[in-house]
């Protein structure tokens, strides 16, 4: 509960800080919404050229984009530091977190928000209502599965970025895998087959980030929802333990900084 309060405090604080540049705030959000609509162009052309393929049509693509952008948006909005953990470790900025009485990883994750990610959430909700699956109950399911997806994405980034504890600066390496999750997530599940499908539910968890949530919304199934829930909890615990274990290898750089 305390942690949830911390998250909300940081969120409010960061939003009010960003509102100092109000025009910029709205440009970033609307910019991201327009940006995402451009991505649909590819599918619009393809479906007008070849019709449905692999059992997927435009309304399914709207749903996939909705799930991915809402999950990604929630993740980056509330856990905005997830792609900076490596940098925080190797610059010694971590000192300022480990002196405070809060779970370190959680505190790092929530202390920054990404504004343009709010645009992703808004875009995702708009295209959800354009998909053939819009409805009140489905919307609730969307929010639930996307919240879990957001946690999975943050946990995945945390694990990759924590590799810096073990191998030194892992920034370049930890950029490729989240990119892979997003790249695979934006396409229909039926496109991928064989060994690649196993990879997408293990090493690169695009399956849990996009394919499974889409399946749950299309055809609600308590078993699949539980599977997603247990994966989310299990993977988050793993991310925290991995970070905690890595922390033992951390040596302070005696960096003095002021976090505003």
């Amino acid at each position: 509960m305390k942690n949830l309060k911390l998250l909300m405090r940081y969120f409010k604080f960061n939003i009010s800080a960003q509102m100092e540049y109000r025009v910029n705030f709205f440009i970033q959000i609307f910019g991201m919404i327009i940006n995402n609509f451009f991505l649909l162009f590819f599918w619009w052309v393809i479906f007008s050229k070849v019709g449905k393929f692999g059992g997927y049509g435009m309304e399914d693509i709207y749903l996939i984009y909705s799930v991915v952008t809402v999950s990604f948006g929630i993740s980056m909005t509330f856990f905005g530091n997830q792609t900076r953990i490596s940098r925080i470790i190797y610059t010694g900025e971590l000192d300022s977190y480990i002196m405070l009485p809060r779970p370190y990883l959680f505190h790092i994750l929530v202390s920054r928000i990404s504004l343009s990610a709010l645009g992703d959430v808004i875009f995702g909700i708009i295209v959800f209502f354009m998909s053939g699956y819009a409805g009140f109950l489905n919307f609730i399911v969307l929010i639930i599965v996307c919240t879990m997806g957001a946690v999975i994405f943050a946990a995945f980034n945390s694990v990759l970025q924590s590799l810096t504890f073990y191998f030194g600066d892992s920034t370049a390496f930890s950029r490729v895998f989240p990119e892979a999750v997003l790249s695979f997530s934006m396409y229909p599940e039926t496109v991928f087959n064989g060994i690649i499908k196993i990879v997408l539910f293990t090493v690169v968890p695009a399956g849990y980030f996009s394919f499974l949530p889409v399946r749950i919304i299309k055809d609600f199934n308590l078993y699949q929802l539980s599977e997603m829930f247990f994966f989310t909890v299990g993977f988050s615990v793993f991310a925290f333990l991995f970070f905690k274990h890595g922390l033992k290898k951390y040596e302070s750089g005696n960096l003095i900084i002021k976090r505003l």
């Binding site: 910019g31 991201m32 052309v45």
Partner: protein
């Protein structure tokens, strides 16, 4: 001659510096290979039951995509450095030096971009050969595609410079950069050849500069001299128009500059 020599020196220094850190490109190669791998699955699914769409076979589309990605990933995004310079006031250090700020940025940009393009073309061709197992490209296309890409990069420079200039008016220009990127994705022909577009969109692309940055170089790679020379006059015309526009806007923007302290 003396004037040109200093820009060539900027070019040379950046070139040598980039060559010393070729290992920095490994991460980019991974991303490049990943995109092509994912796309091969998507296009294979799209082509199931079809051999040719709009004159392109699956193999040709994959090679086309490799070339468009090559150009796309070669562009050095100097606009973010430029925006940072403008916001921090560091631009004052560049403006009082005896060189043109536009040409200084151009020398550095084109040097890094050309190296990237060369490495991406070699690496991309190797990967795509493994994925498709075929080589539906004219060998001379590599020469004319490279030349066309060079001019595409020059045209792209002016758009990046315009993005950098937006920092005079806006705190953060990343949204504009995203949107520019999406114009290249769509009407620029990054994901698929312009021939795939509905007729009315295709007509619009003819009047936009974006396809001369992505689509035209990629097609020149595949088809060689004929395609290159066919599009070259309009590509040059676009370079001229946007070059003049950048010069006018830059002259106007610099007058807004107000640097305090030292």
């Amino acid at each position: 001659m003396e004037k040109i020599r200093k820009y060539f020196t900027f070019f040379k220094i950046t070139f040598i510096n980039d060559l010393a850190y070729v290992s920095n490109y490994i991460g980019q190669f991974f991303t490049f290979a990943l995109f092509m791998f994912v796309y091969s699955f998507v296009w294979r699914a799209i082509y199931s039951g079809k051999t040719v769409i709009e004159g392109y076979s699956f193999e040709m589309v994959m090679w086309y995509f490799m070339f468009t990605e090559t150009v796309m990933m070669s562009k050095y995004p100097f606009y973010s450095d430029m925006a940072e310079e403008i916001k921090s006031g560091d631009i004052a250090y560049s403006l009082n030096k005896p060189y043109s700020y536009i040409l200084f940025n151009f020398s550095k940009y084109i040097s890094t971009s050309v190296i990237r393009m060369f490495l991406n073309t070699v690496f991309g061709s190797f990967i795509i050969l493994i994925i498709t197992g075929s080589f539906p490209v004219k060998l001379s296309g590599f020469l004319f595609g490279f030349i066309s890409s060079f001019f595409g990069l020059v045209l792209n420079f002016f758009f990046f410079f315009l993005l950098g200039l937006t920092a005079f008016w806006f705190e953060d220009n990343s949204s504009f950069a995203f949107i520019y990127g999406k114009f290249l994705f769509t009407v620029g022909g990054l994901f698929m050849p312009v021939e795939f577009f509905p007729a009315f969109v295709r007509n619009i692309t003819d009047y936009m500069p974006f396809k001369y940055i992505i689509y035209v170089p990629a097609r020149s790679y595949i088809e060689g001299f004929g395609t290159f020379i066919g599009f070259f006059p309009v590509q040059l015309l676009n370079i001229l128009i946007y070059g003049i526009l950048v010069y006018i806007l830059y002259s106007f923007a610099v007058k807004r500059l107000n640097v305090n302290g030292g």
